[in-house]
């Protein structure tokens, strides 16, 4: 299972093919320009103030998911963790616990779920795909068992405002300082920190990472815990945004998160990816959906577009690679002829 991206060989020093994360950013710019021409409302602060909260949770979870996929693992249970930590938050609050403490404990539940995944994958040695399919059902099951057919809704207004309203008269939702903080944090963590360097290393070669004295298993557990923790944060924010804690909060969100990460240029085989590409992909997703809704295009077309982009995210780099290889061959031939 070696990365298809490694097949894009680069013999010439000046030869630098576009990477997918750059393409996605260009696509985003094109969309913004095109959208604003198409619909005057699209590129307005108000539209963004409405669109941004919708992708908040996806952004939050896609960040650690990027690291996790770069390290060669995957977590399908994130949406269930969102549900479970939201339910925890709601139920504890309903029982009269201080709301700050309840929110904190909601996040802690996320951490614990992540730890369970991490230990099962790294310590017990089970495949992350199979494990997280199982915990997807398990965590959602816990949420269902705990919440049953109720829901908790009477959160204080200042808190639900946090989930939905904007900061003063700006277009930025109140959650976004936090979300942007996390994006920058994960950007730094991924691309500038020792931790990020090691994550890439593990994704590129687990064996070489072990010989480089990186504690691979612990690192993976930490990544799963990070994913769980961020899912926990997203769980609380989700509850506040829709002012409802229910067992089925964010059902099916895992595929959106993974689709966002893959669309952002993260290789499913690990070792390749950028936070910025993923963040751009999330905004692209959100803006595209908003534009479709504004144009009253059926949401079905958006669903189809999502799938097409996803396949494009693996197909286009492949085609680019083929083109690059063709160009390289021509350059080589020219060199040969010159001799």
């Amino acid at each position: 299972m070696k990365n298809i991206f490694t097949k894009i060989i680069q013999p010439q020093r000046r030869f630098r093919p576009f990477t997918w994360d750059v393409i996605i950013m260009i696509l985003l710019v094109i969309l913004l320009v095109f959208g604003s021409i198409l619909n005057p409302v699209f590129l307005t602060a108000f539209n963004f103030s409405l669109m941004l909260p919708n992708i908040g949770e996806i952004l939050l979870i896609a960040m650690p998911m990027t690291l996790l996929i770069i390290a060669g693992e995957i977590d399908l249970s994130v949406a269930s963790i969102v549900g479970l930590s939201g339910v925890t938050f709601g139920l504890l609050y309903e029982r009269g616990l201080n709301i700050w403490l309840a929110a904190f404990l909601g996040v802690i539940v996320g951490v614990l779920c992540g730890a369970v995944n991490g230990i099962l994958v790294a310590r017990v040695g089970l495949g992350s795909l199979a494990v997280t399919i199982a915990t997807l059902a398990l965590f959602r099951g816990f949420a269902t068992a705990a919440m049953g057919n109720k829901s908790v809704t009477d959160f204080p207004e200042s808190w639900t405002n946090f989930g939905y309203s904007t900061i003063g008269k700006t277009f930025l939702p109140q959650t976004y300082p936090l979300i942007i903080f996390f994006i920058i944090l994960f950007g730094i963590l991924t691309h500038l920190s020792i931790f990020g360097r090691r994550t890439f290393a593990i994704g590129q070669s687990v064996e070489a990472a072990r010989f480089a004295a990186i504690s691979v298993l612990n690192h993976k557990i930490i990544l799963f815990i990070l994913t769980g923790a961020m899912s926990g944060v997203a769980g609380v924010i989700y509850v506040l945004r829709i002012s409802t804690a229910q067992y089925d909060n964010a059902m099916g969100l895992e595929l959106s998160v993974i689709a966002t990460a893959l669309l952002g240029g993260v290789s499913i085989f690990g070792g390749v990816g950028t936070i910025w590409g993923v963040a751009a992909a999330a905004v692209l997703f959100g803006s595209l959906e908003a534009l479709f809704n504004l144009q009253a295009v059926s949401p079905n077309i958006f669903t189809i577009t999502t799938g097409t982009l996803l396949i494009g995210s693996v197909m286009i780099p492949l085609l680019l690679g083929r083109i690059n290889r063709f160009r390289i061959d021509r350059i080589r031939e020219n060199e040969k002829n010159a001799k």
Binding site: I4, G125, L126, N300
Partner: protein
Amino acid sequence: MIQKIAAFQTTNFKINAKTLLRRRESGILMVLVLVSVATTLINPRFISGYGLSDLLLNTSMVGCLAVGLTPVVIARHIDLSIASATGFSAFLTAHIIVGHGWGVVPAFFVGACVGAIIGAVNGVLVAGLRLPSLVVTLGALYIIRGIDYQFANNKQFTAEKLPTDLMHLSQDKIYGVPYLFCLVLLLALFGVWWMRFTRFGRDLYAIGSNPPAADIVGIKVFSRTFFAFVWCGTLAGIAGVMYLSIYAIVDSAAFLNQELIVVTAVVIGGVNIFGGLGTIVGALLGAVLLRVLIGALVALGVAQFWQQAINGLLLLIAIGIDRILSRRSETKIERIRDERKMEIS
């Protein structure tokens, strides 16, 4: 790891492949019997009367899909679009046969064709362009469902409009075995022959077992993988028609989000998610076990809200057992090679 162990393994230590596989399947069978008997003891209606045929009818769809998915997983791929294909085929088939007033046989033919086309597209992308199947079929999941929604709009077909022959098909049975389950058994039988008694099927095992080596020995990786996807799609299409027959109602959300259930059934049935290992029979048994467990939980009156948690736990146990089994054989090998070491020095 295995390589290293292998270096010390002797010839006189034999793992009989057949007995090993048989053990895996007989294990599932044992659990199956155990769960069924225990549940029947507590609630006699679980198996007796129409309980058993209900159970088999319930299994038909997931069983059919598990039989379809198995060759793909054995070839070290996955098809996440399987549930979308099923749903789309169900709706499209209903649309076409209602429009033409067709009956049972054309229905299955149409469904199989719809599925085969979807499988062929997946197959070209995965086998032809060698794109990662997880990403491709995740994309296909969205695309097919989107087309389904767009095409179906708000339409719904119910028993009123659907051909009565088709509705009756799900109610008819031979010796208590529903026709639909017989169909699944036939498909599985063909699958067993294909995967066990043709070079084509064996090549899929080889591809999943050691992909680079498959290239080296000159296996036709493209055509084999491609047809595995076509098979998977075709069976998804057939399962879609079964859906019509069993539930007598179809809209664009039919079989929504059920892909992981199928994967779960296949994994419980002992098909290795990393390819090369597993059988059609095992996958079918896995599907039956999954449905029996769900049915047992319901029949035992386990609180509604705990069912999903228990399902998750059971899947964890299933993959855990696989792991323990493989570990046990490793330690056995280690012990033997230690004995041998002493003999040498």
